[in-house]
């Protein structure tokens, strides 16, 4: 598998405080990678190290196969980023901000390209307004536009939905889905679990500077077994010798059944033969919230 970002035993200390400890990540190319963790877990510190804003105390990392120490200059042209709150020059308009950021990066943006970026982020109507008049949501979108300058293959978005209302969050989610073109990797840090569960293809959960869980969302959130919606959960539970349905929180009318691809068809036949109607069958899932709290609780182990 191709990885857009790798870190090996990456660590960062500030004095005696260990912010990131022996972090080893593998971010698949083309993925939307959710980087989760409570406040102070080391998410922003990791992003700052990968972007060259701060130097690691030890360990190595690569972005697009380039070493963050030795090939910083090449990495600069391959990444776009929002680190924490997007900051702009308040006295400039959105257009001028994009031009200023592009020129500082050594790029010259054509007017059509500026219009395209502002169009993608829905800021065309406000392009002539000074950024000091922008709402937080508009600044976040302008941050995405700035990160897209030069069409970089890797985007680092550090909590881009922070402080947004539900409508703003939905717009940001749609925006991220639209900019995830073929091959682009989005490294998305957040502590809003619902957002991550909806958007991301892969995740890592960080706690106290250490990775606790890492992998594709589909495999981390799926379990062996199915959830079945049927006409009588009590009868079905008794028939299959399962605990009372009330003790299995799959929702009213649903029953959780353990099993594999080999045993589940037989279970369903048993139910149907007993006259119990089966309306819906779905793979049993754990929620990201449950996984997050399980992996960030004291004494939780590492899951890869």
């Amino acid at each position: 598998m191709d990885y857009a970002i790798t870190t090996d035993a990456l660590s960062k200390s500030f004095g005696r405080t260990l912010a990131v400890h022996q972090l080893s990540l593998r971010v698949p190319a083309g993925s939307i990678f959710g980087f989760l963790g409570p406040n102070g877990a080391g998410k922003t510190t990791t992003i700052r190290m990968l972007l060259g804003l701060i130097r690691q105390t030890s360990g190595t990392a690569t972005v697009c196969g380039r070493d963050i120490d030795q090939q910083r200059k090449e990495i600069a042209s391959l990444v776009g980023a929002i680190v924490e709150v997007p900051c702009f020059y308040p006295y400039l308009t959105a257009e001028e901000n994009l031009q200023a950021i592009a020129l500082t990066a050594g790029l010259k943006l054509a007017g059509a390209e500026v219009s395209r970026l502002l169009g993608i982020t829905g800021l065309t109507q406000s392009k002539a307004r000074r950024v000091r008049e922008y709402s937080l949501g508009m600044k976040q979108r302008l941050g995405i536009a700035a990160a897209l300058i030069g069409d970089p293959p890797v985007l680092f978005l550090d909590e881009p939905t922070n402080g947004l209302d539900p409508e703003g969050s939905r717009e940001m989610r749609d925006l991220l889905a639209s900019i995830k073109s073929a091959g682009r990797t989005i490294f998305f840090s957040s502590h809003l679990l619902g957002e991550v569960e909806r958007i991301c293809t892969d995740i890592a959960i960080l706690q106290s500077g250490e990775v606790r869980v890492q992998g594709p969302v589909t495999s981390l959130l799926s379990e062996q077994g199915v959830e079945i919606r049927l006409s009588s959960t009590k009868r079905a539970a008794a028939l299959l010798a399962l605990p009372a349905p009330e003790s299995m929180p799959a929702g009213p009318g649903w029953l959780r059944v353990d099993g594999t691809d080999e045993t589940i068809p037989a279970t369903l036949r048993t139910l149907l033969n007993a006259g119990i109607d089966v309306f819906e069958v779905r793979a049993k899932r754990v929620t990201l919230e449950a996984l997050f709290f399980a992996s960030t609780s004291p004494g939780a182990g590492v899951q890869q």
Partner: protein, 275 residues
């Protein structure tokens, strides 16, 4: 390629400077000195100033040098604010974290800001001088005296003045840059950059004080600037010997290079933890 990137970084700084109220304010503060000749001419007509004194303000090239001399009291501070504002503004607004991940060589951005600050300060000075001359013409017209005086040797004096201001702006920008990078703040850069310019000249009275670049900058002002602020005897007393343009120039430039070198080195190496 590197030159193209650097040129664009300078262009970015000029784009920001054009709209920034801080720079517009310093520009207005600077060109405010240019109205003096017209004001003096106006009040001389009403008997508030002696005509002989007024002639040193309203006739050319006296008006030019008078405006330069009086603006010199605040010009170094204004240059410091421009340089500190250019670099410190990025710390204050948190924009370093937006731009530095996209920049291959950090020092290139800082040097572009240094160069743009110099350009903005120099343009401000030229505008002040040009307006000062226009203001002198207005004053002379109000007083009804001929505007044009003795202009022999003017080009040489202008070239020497330009050389002095270039050295002064270089030194002040380098000093302010170092202060901003050291304090990681616009306010710190302005306060230390300005205080330093006021307080450090006292170092000239300490042992080896003659090495202090501020005193040598003032010596250069005495040597190169027609109608400078300083008296030769005072400068020689401070430096402990006769004025020596080569030595003073070497001293100021050496400190400029050291200040800028340390600023660039620190900026390239330091972590951007909260910026």
């Amino acid at each position: 390629m590197r030159a193209v990137v650097f040129g664009r970084q300078v262009a970015s700084e000029l784009l920001k400077a054009r709209r920034r109220s801080l720079f517009i304010s310093t520009f207005i503060a600077q060109i405010a000195f240019a109205v003096f000749p017209a004001v003096i001419g106006f009040w001389t007509v009403r008997g508030k100033f002696a005509p002989d004194y007024a002639l040193t303000w309203v006739t050319f090239p006296h008006c030019l040098w008078s405006v330069v001399r009086i603006s010199q009291y605040v010009f170094p501070i204004i240059v410091g604010i421009i340089a500190a504002g250019s670099m410190g503004g990025e710390y204050a607004s948190g924009t370093w974290k937006m731009i530095l991940p996209r920049v291959g060589v950090r020092t290139s951005v800082l040097f572009a800001k240094f160069l743009a600050s110099m350009g903005v300060a120099m343009v401000g000075l030229w505008c002040t001088v040009a307006l000062g001359v226009c203001s002198g013409f207005l004053g002379a017209t109000l007083m009804g005296v001929p505007f044009l005086g003795d202009t022999s040797g003017l080009w040489g004096e202008l070239v020497r003045a330009q050389a002095f201001f270039l050295v002064e702006i270089l030194f002040v920008c380098a000093f302010a840059t170092l202060m901003v990078v050291l304090t990681r703040s616009f306010v710190g850069g302005v306060v230390l950059g300005s205080l330093g310019q006021f307080l450090l000249p006292f170092a000239a009275f300490l042992p080896f004080g003659w090495v202090y670049p501020g005193a040598n900058l003032q010596a250069l002002e005495k040597i190169l600037l027609t109608e400078g602020r300083f008296k030769q005897g005072e400068m020689e007393s401070v430096l402990g010997g006769a004025l020596h343009p080569g030595r003073s120039f070497a001293c100021v430039m050496a400190f400029t290079v050291v200040f800028m070198g340390v600023a660039l080195w620190l900026f390239a190496r330091r972590d951007m933890v909260s910026e």
